[in-house]
Amino acid sequence: MAAVEVKKLVKKYGSMDAVKGISFSISEGEIFGLIGPNGAGKTTTLRVLATLLSINGGSVTILGYDLNKEASEIRKLISYLPEDAGAYKNLSGRAYLQFIANFFDRKDVFAMVQKGIEITDLGARIDDRVDTYSKGMMRRLLVGRALMTNPKLAILDEPTSGLDVINAQEIRKLVKSTAQSGTTVLLSSHNMLEVEYLCDRIALIAEGNIIETGKPKTLMEKYQARNIEEVFVRTVPK
């Protein structure tokens, strides 16, 4: 069974078509990357799949549940990391993780928080208030929050956005190991190296349409490109 099945998805903002009937599917345990220029419809697609936005056409099935009818069931199984997410500033890192874990099964809360603390790797700073964290620390906390709940599907919008090389690399490793443990990952990124390193398959999206879908290696061969960046430049309309 596909973890995600998107068929002819349409999303409009007023009269503007943000997503124009895209279709793709993601297998369980797969890391699937959405790449495209700014305003292509990546974040809109991720927000739709994260149950945040309604759809204007087509259908979306996540882990067997219909997005339109069973959004609350989907929310139990997914985790969404927005690109510019934040945390409650008055809470400590630990209290924030605890707050999130409390929404899930009571018996798993302690284990979830411990896992979150481990992922964030913030040491003693986990007990400091969130508003004292650097950007890198904040992002690690949020990644920890997103992955600690053992989601069946992790939707990560620019997971390494604004991070330095070291922090970004650590998060990439985390995403990879999360997928290896059975979680399906859908991510978007501007970083082509990241996409090439992480993703089993990618979809190139531009102006609300999917232009290409496939394995990075296959696409590079098809477009006789040395890397995904070249594939991107050759396929995405200027």
Binding site: L52, S54, S72, R75, I78, D84, A85, Y88, K89, F104
Partner: protein, 426 residues
Amino acid sequence: MSGLGNITKKEIRELLTPATFIPIIVVALIFATMGTSIQGLQEQSSEPPIIGIITEDNIGYGAMASTLLHKNAKSVFNSTSITDLHNGIEIVRQHEGVAVVIIPKNFTERIMQEQQGTIEVNWIMKGTGLMDSISSGALEVLLSYININLSKQLIEQNTTVNASFALSPTIRVETTSYKNRQFAGLSPNTIAGMLASQSMLIPLVMMMIIIMAGGIVITSMALEKENKTLETLLTLPVKRTSIVTGKIIAAAVIGLILAIIYMMGMQFYFKGFEVSGGVNLATYGLVLTTVDFLWIGISLFLALIAGLSLCMLLGTFAKNYKSAQTLTFPITMLALIPMFITMFADFDTLPLAVKVFTFAIPFSHPMMASRALLFDDYILVIGGIVYVGIFALITISIVVWVFKTDRLLTGTTKLKWIKRLKRQRF
């Protein structure tokens, strides 16, 4: 352009927003309306009071007092027998008058014996608001004027008269009737003053809770957006209803705590202004029972929930902390308006349009409840509770619906019926 000029121009441009000016314009309009109303009331108080006069003593000082009453008041009922009192009260009530004044048989005789002549005043109270007792104030002035005139007369006629008696040759015996109740020894002014001082606390508590807790709810929504935590919250396995009610309950608790702290200080402040007049309202049956307090509690609680759900709805429009501050203004106004109305006027005596407006504001009901319960007006209180309950339910449903739409994140909604309407029109 100099650096100073450049900065000044930029600052003025940023500050010249509707959000800065609309609140000030609305406040100015409210004060202007209040000023006009007060001016109207002053004019009303200078008009002769509408009364009924029963003159049983039509000779000497009695005739003099009666003449002064006829000359300075608008008499709509005249009689020479106390047996007509009931009929007189009805006629004066129909003419929206204030009282039936009786000059009893022995009035002149008592004054001749250097005993205070009794003037019986049967007040007809229209409402318990301070503004409702303005006409009765005009009659009180007239009765004092009669006293002074008789006093002058006595001094001019008899130089050996007892000084303290000469200064006060009349005594007033008052009975006020209001909502089928008789209050012996009290004038409408005294009753209204005492009720105002005793029932000022609930409107103030209500206003403070709404302003404080309302601000918390709106700011909370704005901060969720500003701190980028809303998106995460909305993808968690929690019902939208739980998010909405959780925020409302938290704000209500914090608002109550803040209001209690505030009111502890205010109570000491009010003690300095209490109008007791040595009269205990409980002796007139004007006392709230435990059940009454329960009704007030229910009314207060529901109004708070209705108010906070309204704030929550406004909060969905807040983009950040700054815009949240602007959005608290309509709520502040909605809390202030009924507070002023209930402080100065009685719901029963308000013009129909103002009555509907006051009833429609959910915060009015706990403010009106204590006075209404004192006079057993359960219909107003229970009707208010039902209305506020329905108001709260509808508002919460709308908020939950907004939480389920894209509006919260994108500022747009999928209102198909509005789109259809637009298409039909254009």
